[in-house]
């Protein structure tokens, strides 16, 4: 079940990229990013009102926890820069490399509150298949 929900998130991301790409073709990258965030904000506010949840400012939690929204904007900026110079497939493959390395390091050391999941040497076989797969996709 966990695996299916996770793959479903990926399917949603593909749909989102297609939709947002259409918007960005029309408004350009910067304005479309603003529109996307406004629509997202309205959507989550609607959900919060319907579910009668409450929004509070919490002073006692570390400030960095609020940084994810800002980081997301930089993801878009970095991607745009990569695409403008390297085309589409190379930034995608490099982005996946960045995601994979970061994930492996975070799991191995249990960073940012994640459970420790040490990298097992037997997994090199699976990892090689994954890298080969990404390579084939990039050159095709």
């Amino acid at each position: 079940m966990n695996n299916l929900v996770s793959a479903f998130i990926g399917a949603l991301i593909s749909l989102m990229i297609m939709i947002n790409g259409t918007l960005a073709n029309f408004f350009g990258n910067y304005v479309s990013t603003i529109i996307i965030h406004i629509v997202g904000l309205f959507s989550i506010v609607a959900v919060i009102i319907i579910s009668r949840s409450k929004i509070k400012i919490h002073n006692q939690i570390p400030l960095y926890l609020y940084s994810a929204g800002a980081i997301g904007v930089f993801t878009v900026l970095f991607n745009n820069f990569g695409f403008s110079i390297l085309g589409v497939s190379i930034p995608l493959a490099l982005g996946l490399l960045g995601q994979s390395l970061t994930s492996i390091i975070i799991d191995h050391f249990g960073l940012l509150g994640m459970k420790v999941d040490k990298f097992n040497k037997k997994k090199y076989i699976g990892l090689s298949l994954i890298i080969l797969g990404i390579f084939i996709m990039t050159i095709s």
Partner: protein
């Protein structure tokens, strides 16, 4: 420029994973819906600052608004689902598996979207995707065996 583009493309990937985990940690403290709310309000604020800083004249590429279908505005709505579900899943499975499973879902949905909109299928993407899937499955089976041994 070339090397900066390579570095920033890798950092884009790093930032995706960091944002996902930080959002999940925020959600743990203040709740899933509230965490998603702050993700969007802070993202909007930063997007506005970036827009003002780059100071690019705002031009509309096409002729009229009416040529843009309504669904083109709904990416933010899908994004809310993505952020919420990702926060929910982050602490349930190892980071690397979540990364790969999301990638596999994205890839095969992308192949279907390409097929429906452009009527073409990239053999390389299908082959590559199957290889990634088999590598991931192999590692998942290793984990399962290890867990069974620990329990035994």
């Amino acid at each position: 420029m070339f090397y900066i583009a390579i570095l920033l493309s890798i950092l884009a990937g790093v930032s995706i994973v960091l944002a996902r985990i930080i959002n999940a940690n925020l959600a743990k403290h203040i709740g899933l819906l509230q965490g998603t709310f702050f993700n969007y309000i802070i993202g909007l604020f930063v997007a506005l600052i970036v827009f003002l800083l780059v100071n690019k004249p705002f031009t509309i590429n096409n002729l009229s608004f009416s040529s843009l279908p309504l669904w083109a505005y709904l990416g933010g709505l899908v994004g809310v689902l993505v952020v919420g579900l990702s926060s929910y899943m982050t602490h349930k499975i190892p980071t690397f598996y979540l990364t790969l499973l999301i990638f596999i879902g994205q890839l095969f949905a992308g192949i279907i979207i390409d097929y429906l909109s452009l009527n073409q299928v990239s053999i390389g993407k299908v082959m590559g995707g199957l290889l990634v899937l088999s590598g991931l499955s192999y590692n998942l089976i290793l984990d399962k065996k290890k867990n069974e041994k620990l329990r035994a």
